[in-house]
């Protein structure tokens, strides 16, 4: 793959004038923050991280798109505010949270991040700077929320933060013997708890299939929480790439069994640090290095409620049959669809797994996608690196509506990413260059071949 350069400046408006893509902290597991093959530049937003205004009464925060969630939590949690929706990592920017329309453990109650965004300032494809919101330029707003950065560069974000009674989390976790018990407990918990999440052991089959731990949480009331603000956690780090084969079916099985039995009591309750609750993986920096040089990919899909527990069971059986060993399998509840036209969540059960990348990965993702299409579900673009265009189109009936809005704002598809070439069929750079006359004289910059994996 050709190397692209990331432009970095405090002045995001300036560096986004003529680049096809901007990116934040680059932590999405897929290729949505990577430029298309042959695109030499991408604008980095992380230095544009100024807070422009904060109103304690309404909780509305306006900031430049590069502000990280980590910084937001550090500054506002002690004052009694928290992000309305939190993903599983703090290493994400405001712009990234909008572009992926992130969801969290409270989706059944709070919806996606985009529902709490009051306005956006963007640089659109023709170079203009445009403000949009659920009222103003509504189409652009709905296409941008969850639009993976393809409708324009997000420069500024206004979002309504949530007031919390204390900066601590009260939790209750339950050990459950199989997937039926797990899903039933998850649905029941969602009715009463604002935050629910859990992980299951997807290496077990038979009557232990999908055994796991369900964690329910809510913000602690002042009278049950410690009187002081939690200090930021100390982080450990994986200093270098570990050998590639380290995450294999055997170690995964061992790891899963250990995490399951670590929760020996059937039910646990307590008050915990919000970072431990929301961002367990952030405590080990560069944990991805445990997968070695070849890396890993994640697969997240939502299976509609209509399929019930049965759909989840069949999904797990498919994984087992394909010997896809995932060290972490997270199962969450999804509520109603949000306003983002390409937002991931819909009513159903979300399943996220990750696995080491190898020669069989493409075939595995294809098989999972075919299953998801049959179930009427869909995948999460922020985590996707392997889905084929025909599969994505089959699972996303809202795509034509989104594409129509994109055509209006960016008819030439100037804005694009490695992912949009793969999943939406944007013309690769070489093709575009041949189409334009000036480039004809200079020849294509780089011949772009889509990544191919032996199927």
């Amino acid at each position: 793959m050709a190397h692209a350069q990331q432009l970095l400046s405090e002045d995001l408006a300036q560096i986004t004038t003529d680049v096809p893509l901007s990116r934040g902290l680059g932590r999405s597991y897929g290729d949505s923050s990577l430029p298309a093959d042959g695109d030499p530049l991408v604008a980095g937003s992380v230095l544009a991280d100024r807070i422009l205004a904060f109103d304690p009464d309404s909780g509305i925060l306006r900031a430049e798109a590069g502000l990280s969630l980590r910084e937001m939590v550090r500054l506002f949690l002690p004052r009694g505010y928290f992000t309305p929706v939190s993903p599983g990592t703090q290493f994400v920017t405001l712009g990234g949270m909008v572009a992926s329309d992130i969801h969290g453990k409270g989706h059944h109650r709070d919806g996606c991040f985009g529902q709490h965004v009051t306005s956006l300032r963007m640089r659109v494809a023709d170079g203009r700077i445009v403000d949009c919101s659920a009222i103003k330029e509504r189409d652009l707003f709905r296409a941008t929320v969850g639009g993976m950065g393809l409708t324009g560069h997000i420069l500024e974000v206004s979002v309504r933060l949530k007031r919390v009674p204390s900066p601590w989390i009260a939790f209750e976790s339950v050990r459950l013997p199989n997937i039926d018990a797990y899903v039933a407990a998850l649905k029941e918990a969602s009715a009463t708890w604002p935050q629910t999440v859990g992980f299951i052991d997807c290496t077990k089959s038979g009557r232990h299939l999908g055994r796991g731990i369900l964690i329910k949480g809510r913000w602690a009331e002042p009278n049950e929480a410690p009187a002081y603000t939690p200090a930021p956690r100390r982080e450990r780090t994986v200093p270098f790439d570990l050998p590639s084969g380290l995450v294999n079916p055997l170690t995964v099985k061992l790891f899963n069994t250990m995490t399951y039995w670590k929760h020996f009591a059937l039910v646990r309750r307590g008050i915990i640090h919000p970072e431990t609750y929301f961002y367990p993986l952030d405590q080990v920096l560069h944990w991805n290095r445990a997968y070695g040089k070849r890396g890993f990919t994640q697969y997240q899909c939502v299976l509609p409620n209509e399929g019930g527990t049965d759909a989840v069971r069949r999904f797990l059986e498919l994984l087992l049959a394909r010997k896809a060993a995932s060290p972490v399998c997270v199962i969450k509840d999804c509520g109603a669809e949000g306003l983002g036209l390409l937002s991931f969540p819909r009513p159903g059960i979300s399943v996220a797994i990750d696995f080491a990348v190898n020669r069989g990965t493409q075939a595995l993702v294809d098989a999972l996608n075919e299953f998801v299409i049959k179930e009427g579900g869909r995948i999460y673009l922020a985590k996707d690196a392997f889905t084929r265009q025909e599969h994505y189109r089959a699972m996303e009936p809202r795509l034509p509506q989104w594409e129509a809005i994109r055509r209006k704002w960016d008819p030439e598809r100037k804005l694009r990413s490695h992912q949009s070439v793969r999943v939406l069929g944007d013309p690769p750079v070489g093709v575009r260059a041949r189409e334009s006359e000036t480039a004809e004289a200079n020849g294509p910059i780089v011949s772009a071949t889509p990544r191919s994996f032996p199927a």
Partner: protein, 269 residues
């Protein structure tokens, strides 16, 4: 503490200003993070900031950022336009700061221009601007600041020079020349006025990951702006005349300064 910052909208200056209003481990809302008995009783003095820089809108955005981060009322951080290329802006800008803060105790200069040696060689016009801002402009600004600080009986003048000014080196000949001159001036200033209460602090950053160095190959021991900010603030408190940031660059430059010329000619460092 009443602090004037020139160049706080970007890079290390921004990190420094943020550290002043909301220290990384600390709590901007003023509640103790951990109820340690003595610690929570120590009252930190209020730090008032005034920003100087080239662009009015940009200054205002940074001022709002610092206010929110520090949990302060809107418009409590003031700003005025001051451009290192325009010496006639120095006096009025510092006077505005003095009026707004009711006196100045610390002046920090992080502003400056940078380009790689190749770019400077290819663009004499920019080289002239760079030399002018990094040396002439900065020195004249320091002269104005020095007079005001001495008039009130001293204070701290903290200026960002660079390790590039330590020795003539191939990748930073032109930029290093301006910084060498600046370091020299600052050293002399410290010698002359320390007894009168003026502490002059020369900060010599090594490679620090900011927008200025984006796109350059990252050498070992590269620092990050937040870490540099904490080191510089500690130096301001101690009154240390020279700060290398990250610290390891002090050791690296110690070695570089000893190298004979025939070795330096062979090195590309």
């Amino acid at each position: 503490m009443k602090v004037v910052l020139l160049g706080a909208t970007k890079g290390m200056g921004r990190a420094l200003a943020r550290n002043l209003v909301s220290p990384p481990g600390g709590d901007p809302a003023g509640k103790p993070r951990r109820p340690k008995l003595e610690e929570s009783k120590v009252e930190k003095p209020q730090i008032d900031l005034f920003l100087l820089g080239r662009d009015e809108t940009d200054l205002a955005r940074s001022a709002r950022d610092l206010e929110v981060r520090g949990g302060r009322p809107v418009n409590s951080v003031g700003s005025a336009v001051c451009d290192l290329a325009k010496p006639d802006t120095f006096g009025p800008a510092l006077d505005a700061a003095q009026r707004a803060l009711g006196g100045i105790e610390v002046v920090v200069v992080t502003a400056g221009l940078f380009a790689t040696q190749e770019k400077l060689e290819a663009d004499p016009a920019f080289t002239a601007r760079m030399l002018d801002a990094n040396f002439t402009g900065t020195v004249l600004f320091c002269e104005e600041a020095r007079k005001r600080l001495l008039a009130r009986g001293g204070g701290t003048l903290c200026v960002f020079s660079s390790v590039a000014g330590e020795r003539g080196r191939k990748p930073v000949i032109l930029y290093g020349a301006a910084k060498a001159g600046l370091s020299h001036y600052l050293e002399g200033l410290d010698h002359k006025f320390r007894a009168s209460g003026l502490k002059v602090i020369t900060v010599k950053p090594g490679f620090v990951k900011t927008a200025m160095t984006a796109g350059l190959p990252v050498p070992p021991f590269a620092g990050d702006p937040d870490r540099v900010a904490s080191l510089v603030l500690a130096a301001i408190e101690r009154g240390a005349p020279v700060v290398y940031a990250p610290r390891i660059w002090g050791l690296i430059m110690l070695v570089i300064r000893q190298l004979p010329r025939f070795v330096m000619r062979k090195l590309n460092f």
